[in-house]
Amino acid sequence: MAPKHRQKKPGNGLPRGQKPMVNARPSSDPAAANAMSSHIRPAGQKDGLTRKTRKQARTHGPLGNVRVDKKAQAVRNKAVRDAKALLKSGKNLAQEMQLNTALKPAGIVHKRGKKGKVFAEDKDTMQKLVSVVTARMDQVHATKIERAKELEAIREAKRKEIEKREQAKVDKLEQKKKDIKKAKRKGKSVDGGDDLSVFDSPSEKPAKGAKRRVRFAED
């Protein structure tokens, strides 16, 4: 019995799973609720894929999370074709191609020989070490001595400055004391009576160290 041919449903022309585009309609239209779910596909992209499948094709390959690089594939295929051609020609493949760099990676040099200690037994080596070490020690000591001298000089200068200030204060105090004494003496001589010494003749003036006497004018 011949199979029945099912009649195809009249479709909207889109591939399976693809939703039809919804054009913007006025708000009075009852179908306007669907307007928010619509998206506008940029013109030119008609590959028949959904957005989800298109994204997956970019990041996922047939092996999972691996991207297939077609350029690298082409280079490898060419190398394989060249190798086959060389084989046919009869030449030594390994010598000609030198493809296998797994055993001897380029740029890496392995040290050969037993790992051992180098002893410093001879006098020349020891003298060289001594000179290096003592030069550094001398430099360190010289710097320390220099710094100590500088600090000492700074301390000395500060000490002198302080002494000078204190001396200035003491001198000021002494001067003030003298001034007060002078003023007292002058004040005593003015308040205690008329100074009639001005009327005395110069010959009658008492000596410097003698006691002063006061004479009152008699009527």
């Binding site: 200690k117 180098v118 070490l129 001594v130 290096v132 070490v133 003592t134 000591h141 320390k144 100590a148």
Partner: protein, 181 residues
Amino acid sequence: MRPLTEDETKTVFEKLANYIGRNITHLIDRPDDPHVFRLQKDRVYYMSEKVMRFATSVGRPELMSLGVCLGKFTKTGKFRLHVTAVDILAQYARFKVWIKPNGEMSYLYGNNVLKAHVGKMSDDIPEHTGVVVFAMNDIPLGFGVTAKSTTEARRLDPTGIVVFRQGDIGEYLREEDTLFT
């Protein structure tokens, strides 16, 4: 027993130079009786070549000590001077400090040197420099590191520390168990 490598020799010389300065050449260059440095079980020994040759006939596990022990290498690779080196240090010391008789016992019991105990000291000793400590009759008592320079030490209080003790001959009694093991 084996000779020292370059790095080990440099480390040892740096330590010795702190105490004896350029006089290390006197240790290396001895035409009358050449001396060598040898390493045995992390300890550095200084001995004449004659003694070294005798020591080659003793097996490594059996060889306990040879010559003069200068010090030992710690697990981190640093070199620590022992009191057994004080005679060699005293012979070639660069900076010296003399202690009064009333301060000797305090130092030999393991205390630092105070200003009140200092009898005399070399001039122009920088701060934090290795010095050898002597009694007033020039007997070496130990070695240490200065806390202050000579000029600053003059201004210190009597209770101020002048030298930090690093090793003293009192350790022969105090550290008897661990000194040679």
